[in-house]
Amino acid sequence: MGDRAYRWITTGFALVIPVLLGLIAISVFSAGWPALHKFGLGFFTSSDWDPVNEKFGAAPAIFGTIVSSAIALIIATPLAIGVAVFLSEFAPRWVRQPIAFLVDLLAAIPSVVYGLWGILVLVPFLRTYVMPFFKETLHLGDTPLFAGAAYGPSMLAAGSILAIMVLPFISAVTREVLLAVPRSQREAALALGATRWEMIWDAVLPYARSGIIGGVILGLGRALGETMAVTMVIGNRHEISASLFAPGYTMASQIANEFSEATTDLHVSSLMAVGAGLFVITVIVNVIARWLVWRMGRNQVA
């Protein structure tokens, strides 16, 4: 009797998860429906964003989301793998714990605190030192990638802050999969006369590859949906620009930034439609990431 009730109750709690996910999908799409209905799929390819004439398109936000996440991954991935290799293979015992703790702590800092630090410390630093370095010292000011005025809030700032934020996620997953690589793989490499680095590069990392890629994609999922820190440093301009120094938008930052200002129903609905797009993208990215990490777990058993 009690056993059956217990089983039903825990099953009920567990079923909350799929129900919740379904409700989220329904509410996000129904909120964005008026805009999706009016503009169709063209909503995601149009660059218009004209609240006065009620014309909306999400292309610049999608572009900004992809670019800022790409910058973040380009910076964070090698660092994160380096940290993970360091912690799992080379770190002396006495630094392993503290460094692992500090890196984990990076993941615990609230987004808004990153944003605060970003806008009051990182952005001024980029404006005074990094941007002039590219423009004047390296004479790259005329190339499209570094063109335009260096205000500070920019795609570069967003990418940099995102890199710091996703690094702990990538390194945590990488560390886990590195630990799952069997000793025998390492010993086999060493027995063939490999140096310690060759053991890592030729035996351990290839073995852990799909798990590491899964971790990177998991980091990508974080970067795509990160809101507050990006909203505070990206400059919030609805424009597609090749320049890293130009301000821009991401999907999440556009929603957060304009939500309180949006007055017409269609404007609000357009923001929600951007949210629906973000929902679909992050679900796909997460499914791929989980699948890769899961496959790594299965390989290790075989």
Binding site: P18, G82, P110, V112, R196
Partner: protein, 288 residues
């Protein structure tokens, strides 16, 4: 001839190995640098404004120095309470289910969906709560904010609960069954109790994470310049206040934002340290 050339390549390989290993040390250094910088800036900029007034006074109007964030601190407490009331029981229950139905297809599917839920951006949670709980009632509320945060807690708590329960040896479960315990009683008073320190740790980590969330609150709790603890009214929250102040052009408000961030980080750190202490202090099993 052969011997010298292999000796030379070996030397080169050794040097390469040394350099690459050194680079991983550098990576570790670079990765920890931002954290140390952030903590340093928080302490340097925020410490002077963290005083008794900060915890007891209401926000000062723009242009006026001083004031505090009493309403935002209490508001964050309220939001965390509502979120925990929703996220903890559901998360623990779902975690029990996943741990006990390990091989079942339904469990595999739910575990996967829980991971997907965990990967959703917090802003999507905000839209969800806004559409279902704010829009129909035509006003923002602490309750909607708490529910959005609670939904974020569920996958976090589910995962740690499952992991911690799996750490409890099967023999413990069998010993209870052999004494004539029913299955539900075995699960709750022996297995869950044994896993409790680890689950508490996980719950604290989840609380620390949602306490600093801002994005969902823009759509739900909204923020409030005045004193309110009513669950049906908009409520102030520490991260919302930091956001507003950081973007404002006043130096006084920036100082308050730094102070708020310092307090928020302090809160997160204290919760993390308590979590570690809980894990370590109990005998037997834990998060290690």
């Amino acid at each position: 001839m052969l011997a010298t050339s292999t000796a030379r390549t070996l030397a080169r390989r050794r040097v390469k190995s040394f350099i690459m290993i050194a680079l991983t040390y550098v990576a570790a250094l670079i990765a920890t640098l931002p954290l140390l910088l952030i903590l340093w800036h928080l302490a340097a900029q925020g410490a002077s404004s963290v005083n008794w007034n900060f915890f007891t006074k209401m926000p000062a109007p723009a242009g006026e120095a001083g004031g505090g964030m009493a309403n935002a601190i209490v508001g964050t407490g309220m939001l965390v309470l509502i979120a925990s009331a929703i996220g903890l029981p559901i998360g623990v229950g779902a975690g029990l289910f996943l741990a006990e139905q390990r091989g079942a297809k339904l469990a595999t599917a739910i575990r996967f969906l829980s991971d997907v839920l965990n990967g959703l951006p917090s802003i999507v949670m905000g839209i969800f709560a806004w559409q279902l709980l704010v829009r129909p009632f035509k006003h923002f509320s602490a309750l909607a904010g708490g529910i959005a945060l609670g939904a974020m807690m569920i996958p976090l708590v589910t995962r740690t609960t499952e992991e911690m329960i799996r750490l409890v040896p099967v023999s413990m479960r069998e010993a209870a069954l052999a004494l004539g315990y029913t299955k539900w009683r075995t699960s709750l008073s022996v297995v869950l109790r044994t896993a409790l320190p680890g689950i508490v740790t996980g719950a604290l980590v989840a609380v620390a994470r949602i306490a600093g969330e801002t994005a969902p609150l823009i759509f739900t709790a909204l923020g409030n310049q005045f004193w309110s603890v009513s669950p049906t009214q908009p409520i102030a929250a520490l991260p919302m206040q930091i956001y507003t102040y950081a973007l404002a052009p006043y130096d006084d408000w920036h100082a308050q934002a730094w102070a708020g961030a310092l307090v928020l980080i302090g809160l997160v750190l204290i919760i993390s340290l308590i979590a570690r202490y809980v894990t370590r202090s109990r005998f037997g099993l834990g998060g290690d």
